[in-house]
Symmetry: C2
Amino acid sequence: MNYCSACGAPVTKKIPAGDNLPRFVCDTCQAIHYHNPKIVVGCIPEWDGHILLCRRAIEPKSGLWTFPAGFMEIGESTEQAAVRETLEESQAQVERICLFAVLSLPHIGQAYLVFRGPMGSPDFGAGEESLEVQLFSLSAIPWDEIAFPVVKDALCRYVDDVTRSEFQVHVATLPDRLT
Amino acid sequence: MNYCSACGAPVTKKIPAGDNLPRFVCDTCQAIHYHNPKIVVGCIPEWDGHILLCRRAIEPKSGLWTFPAGFMEIGESTEQAAVRETLEESQAQVERICLFAVLSLPHIGQAYLVFRGPMGSPDFGAGEESLEVQLFSLSAIPWDEIAFPVVKDALCRYVDDVTRSEFQVHVATLPDRLT
């Protein structure tokens, strides 16, 4: 950030009065510009003991696999965001989704909210951001071709829970080197 | 947003190529400026069958009660944010906190992540943003003086869960008129 988005004048990074962290403050209109973590919402679509994964058509990590996920938008709930991302990336409709994991990535300012839920039908296809979309049995997940460590972490937790037949809501923080 | 925070030129709200929502796009450098929902992280501190609430010293809703809560910062996890906000607003140290509710407020672009957890000691006091801090038995919660409907909603769910001796992770969306 170089300029104030309100008035267009230059900004300076400094700690505002009453605050304890540096923020971008406008030299002219004094507006304080906060940068906050972003929410990434994802979903593991389930069908008949399989899960649906997408091969990314876009950078970063084009060509590698992930479950549908993306940035939450203003105006939607976390569940709506998960359903929308699933539809956009895999053309699949998920139903009765449950929160499955809240995974923080502090060093890049993101929090992943990962849901899971059954597909309403076995219909799916590659959305604009996917090269291909495929159902995988849990024993055939392409572990060496997963796009991001946070996706691999969530999938590991998912497979563990399915194996134990006991789902929980995982809350965890991923270390820097893993994300 | 009126000006590009990267180059200082005016921005125009329009749908970028490949997108489906309007964004602020710089007329000069073409930078796309996304506005995303903010994460508010809160915690219900517990001590001996009581919960700790803070009477707000700042607007909005100065003078009304809330559990400690505030915007998550870049560089921290959701749990760290909940512990920090609790310490800042109530001078209490919470331990072994558990995620309790994920409450979306779509119309104002916020998602609340509410934790609960025991205080390490009965020490507490008013932080800079609080007029006073007080332990309440669940039958004495000041329901008519709660700062925000989302706080009241979370407290209702908390009291229900305690009454049933069964905690879950609540995922819900608050309607416009309630927030």
